[in-house]
Structures are given as C-alpha cells and as structure tokens.
C-alpha cells in the first residue's frame, strides 16, 4: 500500500520533473502540492457542508433556505438547488470584509489563534484515508496521530478567548478547554478497544481487519456502546449542539469568536467544518467499515458469486466512505436542529460519570468477548 505522497514523489522522479533527480526536492514539491490540495479540500468541504447544513436546517424548520443565488445555469428559485451559490457569495463577502482587531486585544495572540485551530484541523486531515490508499500519509500510528493533533486546536481556542479581552470570549474559551479535555478521554478509550482487537494503530489495518471479520459496530454488543460513546464525544469535540457550549450564541453571544470578523472568522468556520468531516470520517473508518462496500459484505455472507454488483474497488471505496461520512454529518445536523443545548455541569457529568466509566468497562468486556469467541 502506498500513500498519495509516496506515489507523487515517485511520479515526479520517474517523469524527470525534478531538477537533478533529487529526492529531497521531490518531497518538497509533493508537500507543497498536497498542502494546497488539502487546503482547497477543506474550503470546498466547508462550502458544501454549509450549504448542506442550511438546506437541512431549512427543511427541518419548514423553510426553503437559500434560494436566490445561482450560477452555472443553476438559476435561483424555489428548487432544491435554488441557492447553490449562496455559500460562494458568503465566502466572497467574508473575504471582502473589514478586518477588525479591537484596541485592547493581545494583538499577536489574537492574530495567531485562528491559524492554530486551522492548523490542527489541517494536520488531522493529512492522516485520514478517504479510500484504499487515498491518504496523504499513512502513519503506522494513524489513530493516535489524529486524536493527538486534533486536540491541539484547543490551544487556539483558549488563545482566541484570552486575547480577545472580552468576558464572553473568555467564558467560551474556558468552557471549550474543559469540554475538549474531558471528551478526549472517552474518545481515546473507545478507540482503545478497537486497537486492542486489531492490534494496530494504522487505519488501513483496522479496515483490513473489518474486511476479514466484520464491521466493528456489529463486532459485539459492547462495540455498539463504544460507537455511540465515540460519536457523541466526537460531536462534543467539534463543539456542535447539544454540546456547543463554547459558542452558545444565546448565552455567550458567540463565545470565543465574539471579537473576530472577516477572514479570521472564516478561518474558524473552515476549521469547524473540517473537524466535523474528520470526526465523521474517523467514525466511518473505525466503526462502519471505512471504504468497505456494505453491498459486497452482505452478498459475501450469503456466498453469492463475485461480480460487478459487489460495488467494490478503489473508487467505489471512496464513494462508500463518503456516503457513511455524509450520513454521520447529517446526523450531527439533525442533532443540532432538534435539540437544545446542555449546561456546563451537565456536560461534565455526561463525560466523567457516564461516558468514561462505560468506556472503561467496555474495554474489559470486549477483551473478555475476544477471549471467549475469537
């Protein structure tokens, strides 16, 4: 199995595009190319996710959502795609906005904070495969890397809250710090049992295990609980309702982003949706069989002869993982537009007194299950 980076370096060298055939230069070229690609991917993800979210929320709320801005022959109007260019227009508007830095802020921290959050989301995406071999870099400690790097984002949140010199921002930042640190633990524990069963931290190994055995969500009754704990903690990690306390627009105005505007605010926005994608992709890979075809898996259990209708292969793999991730993203939006928000102490209660004990017991029970049935 080779990752994107490996194939890109090899391709650059083979085609003789690197002067002198230096491997180091090829690496630099590949990194720059892939960095830009990931950035564009994040931006595209946010554009589509925001439009999706606005439409989902609109239909849940008995509205039509954006329906004026159209482009490329998609005219606006009361159609499903009526406002397809709305997020593009919004993004352009954000870029053109005045960049306000309030007078009494800690200027340097204020400027650097959004980029730390964005950097964390950016680095997390590098380690996540979106299909067999479709990964920027396939770490052998992939799960550990993604969990570790995505929690760096909390530093950016604390910095932005502190540097804003605004009481609401400070509240939001403090809440975010407490929340993200608390929910790291159940996430880690739920992943631990998967790692224990598979014996590897590499995403490809986990999916390979699920291919030869079965998807983790149906591995045993306990992994269903682990899946729920992981997904809900993931929702809390990315600060979405019912765990969106760091922003909580009705209490803290906008939480840690209160003082941000224009492009810096857009960076927050991009990283929020990038994190949503990371959590959904990770859940899909670890518990829902990643790029494995549900059709193929089902047919194989009934020993049907191999054929095209198995819908397997690298491109079908990318399709299936997207379907699973998009479904999970939809579930997150479903949460957001139906549930009210929890309170800080209830949030902590859920993490420390419900999720963590259950996750701990889960590890033990799955171990017993493996001993008995594996």
């Amino acid at each position: 199995m080779t990752s994107f980076t490996d194939s890109l370096i090899k391709g650059l060298l083979d085609l003789g595009l690197v002067p002198g055939g230096s491997a180091a230069l090829a690496l630099v070229g590949a990194v720059i190319f892939l960095g830009v690609a990931v950035f564009l991917l994040i931006a595209l993800n946010a554009l589509i996710a925001v439009y999706f979210e606005r439409k989902v929320s609109a239909f849940m709320q008995d509205r039509l959502g954006p329906m004026e801005a159209g482009f490329f022959g998609f005219a606006g109007g009361k159609r499903f795609w009526g406002g397809i260019a709305q997020t593009v227009a919004d993004a352009l508007k954000l870029l053109g906005k005045e960049d306000i830095i309030p007078t009494d802020t800690d200027r340097k921290l204020f400027i650097i904070a959004p980029f730390i959050i964005f950097g964390a989301a950016f680095c997390a995406i590098i380690g996540i495969p979106v299909g067999y071999g479709l990964v920027i870099s396939d770490f052998n400690i992939g799960i550990f890397y993604v969990v570790a790097i995505s929690s760096v984002g909390v530093i950016g949140i604390i910095l932005s809250g502190w540097a804003s010199n605004n009481k609401w921002s400070l509240y939001g930042a403090m809440r975010a710090a407490a929340q993200i640190i608390s929910y790291e633990l159940p996430i880690g524990m739920s992943l631990l049992l998967v790692v224990m069963v598979v014996g590897s931290l590499q995403f490809h190994d986990i999916v390979a295990w699920q291919e030869t055995n079965r998807w983790f969500i149906i591995h045993s009754p306990f992994t269903v609980i682990a899946f729920l704990i992981f997904f809900l903690s993931g929702v809390a990690e990315v600060n979405r309702t019912p765990f969106d306390l760091p922003e909580s627009e009705s209490e803290l105005v906008a939480g840690f982003m209160t003082e941000y505007s224009g492009f810096r605010w857009a960076i927050f926005f991009l990283s929020e949706y990038a994190n949503v994608a990371v959590v959904s992709l990770m859940t899909a890979i670890v518990f829902l069989g990643g790029w494995l075809s549900p059709v193929g898996g089902l047919l194989r259990t009934f020993s049907v002869a191999d054929g095209w209708y198995y819908l397997e292969g690298p491109w079908w793999g990318a399709f299936w993982i997207s379907v699973k991730a998009i479904f999970l993203i939809f579930v997150m939006m479903w949460f957001r537009w139906t549930w009210p928000r929890m309170r800080v102490d209830q949030l902590m209660y859920t993490a420390w007194k419900v999720f963590i004990p259950f996750a701990l017991v889960n590890i033990f029970l799955v171990g017993v299950w493996e001993l008995l049935f594996a």
Binding site: W339, P340, R341, V344
Partner: protein, 380 residues
Amino acid sequence: MSEALKNFGVVKAEEMVLNMGPQHPSTHGVLRLRIRTDGEIVSHIEPHIGYLHRCFEKHCENVTYPQVIPYTDRCDYLASMNNNHVYAMAVEKLMDIELPERVEYIRVIVAELQRIASHLMALGAMGLDLGGVTPITWTFRDRERILDLFEYTCGARLLYNYIWIGGLSHDLPPKFVQYANEFLDYFEKQIVEYDRILTYNKIFVERTADVGVLPVDVAISYGCSGPVLRGSGVNWDLRKNEPYSIYDRFEWEAAVGKGEVGTLGDCWDRYWVRVEEMRQSVRIVRQALAQLPKEGDVHAAIPKKIRPPKGEIYFRAENPKGDLGFYIISDGSPVPYRLKMRSSTFCNLSVLNEIARGWMISDVVAILGSLDIVLGEIDR
C-alpha cells in the same frame, strides 16, 4: 494558627462583573443585566431598564381617550389586542357604557387568539434561549396564521387599534368564523408537536426542571402575576377570579403549575402553564365562535366626543403575561388627567435576582426566557 496558614489551600476566585445587554441575543430586547459572577455562578443580578422608555404615560395626558389606544398597542407589542381590550374596558367602566353582545364575543375571540400568539412567541424564544433553534421557526409559522387572521380582520398585523372604546373599529369579515375554526383544528395538532420537540425533550427538561424555583410567598410579595404566578401553583387567573367581559360564560380551566417534572415553580412549570393556556384558549375561542351572535352592531351608542365623568378608576384584566392594570383619573375633559399603567412584566422581571442567584449564566438565560418579558411594556 496564623492567617496565612488558615487560608492555605483555599482557592477563591475574584468576582467578575458582567454586562449582559442591552445588545445581547437573549435579553429579549434592550434589557441590560449587570451580573456579578463567581466563575459561571451568578451571585447577584441587577436589571437596568429604560432603554425603550417612550413616555407612554406622559403622552397619554396630552391626547384624547380614543387616541390612547394606539399607544397601548405599542406597550406590550406581542399582545396588542389584550392591551386594547383592557384599556377600552377601563374607560367603558368609567363611563358606564353597555356593550352589544356581539362586540363582547368578538373581543374575547381576538383577545384569546392574541394570547395564543403571545405564548407562541414565549415558547419559541425560550427554546431559542436554551439553544434549540427549530421550535421558534415552528411557533412563528403558526403565529403567522393568527396574524393573518388579524390582518384579515382589521388590516394590521402587529399594532391593531382594533378594540375601540364602546366597540370595535370593524365588524368581523365574512368568512372569519370558518377560517378561525380551520386554524384551531390545525393548531391543536401543532401543540402536540411542540410537546415533542420541546416540552418533554430530555435536554429541555434537564435544563429547566428545578431551575429558578419561584416560591409562592416570593411570587406574591413581588407582585408576580400571570403564568409566572400560576407556575408557582397559585390558582389566580383574573378571568376566573374576577370575571370580566363574558369569560364566565365559557367552560375552561385556569392552567396551574403542578411541578410535574421537578419542583413546583421552576422554569419548566412556568413554561408548561403557557402551553396549557394555549389549549384552554383554543377551547374558549371554539365556544365563543359557536355562540357568536350572527347579527348586531359593533358600535355601542356613545357620544361622539368621549368625555368620561369626573372620577377615577383602576381596572385590571388578565393579559398573556399577567395582570395588566390601568389607573385613569378623569377631570371631565376629553383628555385623561393622569393615566398609569400597571405592567405585569415589570413585576415579573423584578423577581429575577431572587430566583436566579446561585445559578449559572446559562440558567439566567433560561429563567429570563421563562419569565417572558417584553421591554415595551416594562419601560412603557
């Protein structure tokens, strides 16, 4: 033991003063709260009002009696019909005017529809305060239909000037009864939907049950009224206790909090009273529509120039948000000598510090939502 040793290991945070409003998403207008907090815990709240003061009472001393009605519209702008109704009744009582049957029925119908509209707003806004964005769009969708009915009736959607002294500005339009009945049929099913998404939602119950408990004695000593008082378990509804207009002709029950999911008098009870009142209002409107006299004038025989006799009157009635009272002193001229409005939400807001102390900032928002304030009426 030395002082330093005694305090060793005792961590005490400094208190912080937080200014909430007047530009804040959930202070329901231009209320400003000065909150002293210890971390997230609130130790003292001081409401600062006056950002929407428009000298309502002083204005009233300079305009004739009928001209006061548009001003009452603008006090509690979510329940304009009820304000019109109370003021008109006050002046009619001062002048001893007998009203035609049909007028009384129409007034009750529009007042109860307005009560539903006002409670819908309260429900949605409370859901929004707690972070649920969907309920408010649903309640607004249904409130819209009531506003459509009012627009059909009198041309205005928010500030009606519909109930006049001694009658109404217009009679009901031709198919009003049919449309209103259609709306009620539709609306009764919607209440079940609100129950599903908000009232019995686990997170909503967790956020509101046992939070901001208002004991009965505190409620009474602060002069609370309306759903806030009834949420504490006091069966006090002026429509029942001091029947005015024709409320004694209908079959309905006053909604009183029961402490169903938590302590009696918590945020959830105040919220639930509103939901229950909407059901009761539907009952009242149904009966009133059925009994509505087919024919009749909607203007009582009153002099062209309204000149109440010398004297004074205090008249109060049940508004969606509580007891609304008008104290009018007449010196026999066409202009009130003095007009004082007793606002229910002003008293309801004053209890905030009493019940929100010791709770968190998130709870202050929930409690404020459950008090259902309208700054237009508090500042006047």
